[in-house]
Subunit: 186 residues, 2 copies
């Protein structure tokens, strides 16, 4: 009965386990505020595909809000008891794989011998800027959690993860800045 879903399905199911009934659109927004920073925020079309699949498996249930004279059927999806059970069992049995990092900046640094050193430095400086932008985004998300982030409250764990992300961005920024210094002195 454990149908071996991809991690992204469990991730979306997990977002639904945080409470509330969400539309696909809202779920995508929640993914943009959470999954984006340490997983991937699936494309809109993917969200709907997953919602259909999870529904078919009865892990979530879509409340139909159909109205007369309208063709479209906006639905709010909510996790089911079976969904919660399946999610818990996945968390308890599937091993947590080592993170996968796809780091285009590091990849380009590896190939530094092919480009003008100035360019490499510029690229790293731009990366520092985008780290700052990302960090700012995540800070906003983290702030929006304040008030419901105490132990036992709904956003406790999400806030821990957000803090982790902020630490990561800070450490990465420092490392890259040291790297820039090092390249300047070559």
């Amino acid at each position: 009965m454990s149908q071996e879903l991809p991690t992204t399905s469990f991730a979306l199911l997990g977002l639904l386990s945080l409470g509330d009934a969400l539309t696909g659109y809202e779920l995508k927004q929640r993914a943009d505020n959470t999954l984006r920073f340490y997983w991937v925020s699936p494309a809109m079309s993917q969200v709907y595909t997953e919602l259909t699949r999870l529904s078919r498996l009865r892990l979530i249930k879509g409340a139909d809000t159909r109205r007369p004279g309208h063709r479209r059927t906006p639905r709010r999806y909510r996790i089911t008891a079976k969904g919660t059970r399946t999610l818990k069992s996945w968390l308890e049995t599937a091993p947590a794989d080592f993170p996968v990092l796809k780091h285009p900046v590091a990849l380009r640094l590896l190939l530094g011998h092919l480009v003008d050193p100035e360019r490499t430095i510029t690229m790293l400086e731009e990366y520092v800027e985008s780290l700052a932008a990302r960090s700012k985004d995540l800070h906003q998300v983290r702030d929006s959690l304040a008030g419901a982030d105490a132990v036992g409250q709904p956003y406790h764990y999400p806030s821990l993860v957000a803090d982790w992300g902020l630490d990561y961005y800070a450490a990465e920024t420092e490392t890259v800045q040291r790297l820039i210094e090092r390249l300047h002195h070559e």
Copy 2:
């Protein structure tokens, strides 16, 4: 003429730009020692597929080492002048995207409300252990570069990237250890 290849193709082409003519098998090993840490090390079959594609595009050239009485054709591939040009032009024109992190441990922490807190701590402790193992692997790779890692030498940039990776693992380890402490005191 810029045929918009996936990043992984450029990554493999880049590994070939480090010098030497390699077989698919050897290229896979080089990927395991480099790309694995900040990109992905493609499957063996994918390496051969890429080699075929890059060959067809004349970005690399495979020297045929066919011998009589043998059906198999082991080839050593070497980057061509066109390959170097294409790679350089990619490095200079394509923007370096922000890194993508797929972090199953962070994802699970987000869903901490669904599992026994003890289990979450155990998971984080196991993650610290696997970070140590990874770090050890990368350290070995970095050590194997020593001697040819000075400015201007072939492994200068690869060693910078390796150092970056080691810094990352160290910082991540500290962050997770603080997180474990925090969870202990809840």
